[in-house]
């Protein structure tokens, strides 16, 4: 039987009229303690609390690693991320995420679901600005210096089939296993999947010609470079693609 630490000790005597000495004693002891040592509070703007490295402050971005797959846009619960056009160091036009910190809920989903670990969490939490426009963090501003390994959040999952096989120590992320599959009957060879793929994992392969003499193109997926961003699945006009979930 479990003991009850508090209920077995209290209440002892019900009638304690004007019994105020013990709390006064407690209070005086705390007074003495805080006069000798310092109180437990900190002077906030001058001193700051210790924060662990994985503290979920604003999102941070590794500009070079990002492939603009839009996974963060899809997963954001508050819809505060969108992809905008910008330029990288060598002047090429690229698309990178922009975060509206005013709407951001600091849930860390963008970092968790980033297939290439380009989005991270950062311990930066002082985000007040004077205007709402200032709260919108463009891709360049989103870059955080000094991203360490702990700030990346990896999506480490275990397959239920692995547990049954006794291989329970293996950790996979869905971006490694889940791959798009084609229902060839629905495909109309529009090449849209090839266009939207951020990592160029889709190649259109010719499978003969149709009755009008046009080539029939079916997409083929490079399983090594695919990051399972689901852009092709979502943009397919005929719903010919779906993700094969490995469980």
């Amino acid at each position: 039987m479990a003991e009850k630490k508090y209920l077995e000790k209290y209440p002892r005597s019900p009638a304690r009229t004007l019994w105020v000495l013990k709390p006064v004693g407690k209070v005086l002891r705390m007074l003495g303690k805080t006069v000798i040592h310092r109180p437990v509070t900190i002077l906030y703007p001058y001193e700051k609390m210790w924060m662990p490295e994985n503290y979920r402050g604003r999102p941070g971005l590794r500009f070079d690693r990002c492939v603009a797959c839009g996974m963060c846009v899809k997963m954001c619960p508050t819809a505060c991320i969108k992809l905008v056009d910008t330029e990288n160091d060598s002047g090429e036009k690229v698309r990178r995420p922009q975060v509206n910190i005013g709407r951001c809920a600091m849930c860390g989903y963008c970092a968790e679901y980033c297939p290439v670990d380009a989005m991270t969490v950062t311990p930066e939490f002082e985000l007040a600005e004077y205007t709402r426009e200032d709260l919108i963090y463009g891709p360049k501003r989103l870059v955080y210096e000094g991203i360490t390994e702990k700030m990346e959040i990896h999506l480490e999952e275990t397959l239920m089939s692995d547990v049954e096989n006794g291989n329970f120590e293996r950790r996979i992320s869905p971006f490694m296993t889940d791959r798009p599959v084609l229902e060839a009957a629905k495909c109309i060879s529009c090449k849209k999947c090839e266009k939207v793929c951020p990592v160029k994992a889709v190649t259109m392969v010719e499978h003969g010609v149709n009755e009008k003499g046009r080539p029939i193109l079916y997409p083929e997926f490079n399983d090594d470079t695919c990051i399972c961003c689901m852009n092709c699945v979502e943009d397919c006009p005929k719903d010919a693609l779906h993700i094969n979930e490995v469980l």
């Binding site: 009229t17 006064v24 005086l28 805080t34």
Partner: protein, 390 residues
Amino acid sequence: MTYSSILDWIQFGDVMSNPFYPYQTYNLPFDIGYKLWEIIGGLIAWLINLIFPGNGVSTWLISPEVSNMFALVLFMVIIFAVAFVVTLISLWMERKVLGRIMDRRGTMVGLKGFMQCIADGLKTFMKENTIPKKVDKMTYMWTVSLIIGTSVLIACMVPLSPRWFVVNYGTGLLVIMALFALAPFFILVSGWAQNNKYSLIGGMRAAELMISYEVPMLIMIATTCLLAGSFNINDIVNMQSDTVWFFIPQIFGFITFIFCATAEAERVPFDIAEAEAELVEGWQTEYAGMKWGLIMLADYMRGYVSCAMVVIMYLGGWLIPFVSEGVNGWIPEIVFLLKVWFVFFIMIVLRGALARVRTDQIVNIGWKVFMPLSVVNFAVVLLLKVGGVF
């Protein structure tokens, strides 16, 4: 008399030799005021005389009648300034000590946080002076004026030493008590005038609070006066100097009186009139800005007066223990104020340790605990007096 140099204008005379000197005994703040006026008035008179030599205004300014009049004005300013600064220091002490009790730092702005009191005061004074639309405007204004006025009046009337007083009444303690008891009536009227249910309940509670602590308190004052044989504050303190401090013969009275004084000042265990948990700010709900700031100041002034009454009646006023009377003459005011702050410290600790009592509980405590204790106290003192110990 010829006035040739500036020193002729500044006479720096003895205040007691002024024929219009209002007191029988030496009064330090009046002396300071008198001397200040002699410097200021002398300078003005000298300046006027430089421009218009031989005019009558200059001599009029330094004549004993006019000096006395302006000295009285300066005297008032000095008395109020001291009471004000003492109150501010109490406020600062409360914030700091309460902060340390609660494991935080208290105010941190300038001079270990003392400037925060001044900053807060300035802030409340700079706010817009709002009057709610549906209040009874006249009652709303004059009640708050009277609450603040009576509080400031009694805070100024507390004598700090035999030489620091406003009026040396024969019935000093009674007068302070009477003015003290006035404020709850104004609170009641003010609560009604604000046209707000919280204020109304708060005002009613202030009256309820008063009937619960006032009677035992008066019995205890009567006990002390019986022991001292006088209502005069000087006499009471002198009596304690001759015998022992009165908290030794009336220890029950001392403890009970501290609680009654806490109730009198409407501080935390007994602050049912402005219980912020259920009545937002009680009777102060509709007062904002400067009015609220002044009410706050008046609250702390009442706290100061309550502590001063405890010190006068039980802790030997401005006496230093185990020291001959010759040394007593040096700094009686400082000694008195230190004792006041000590009693205030006890009140702060009570505030930190205790919760607010309920309305029926305060009446219960007042009539079932404080009242018997004060009567027992009275009986003990009566026995001592009859037995000839005092």
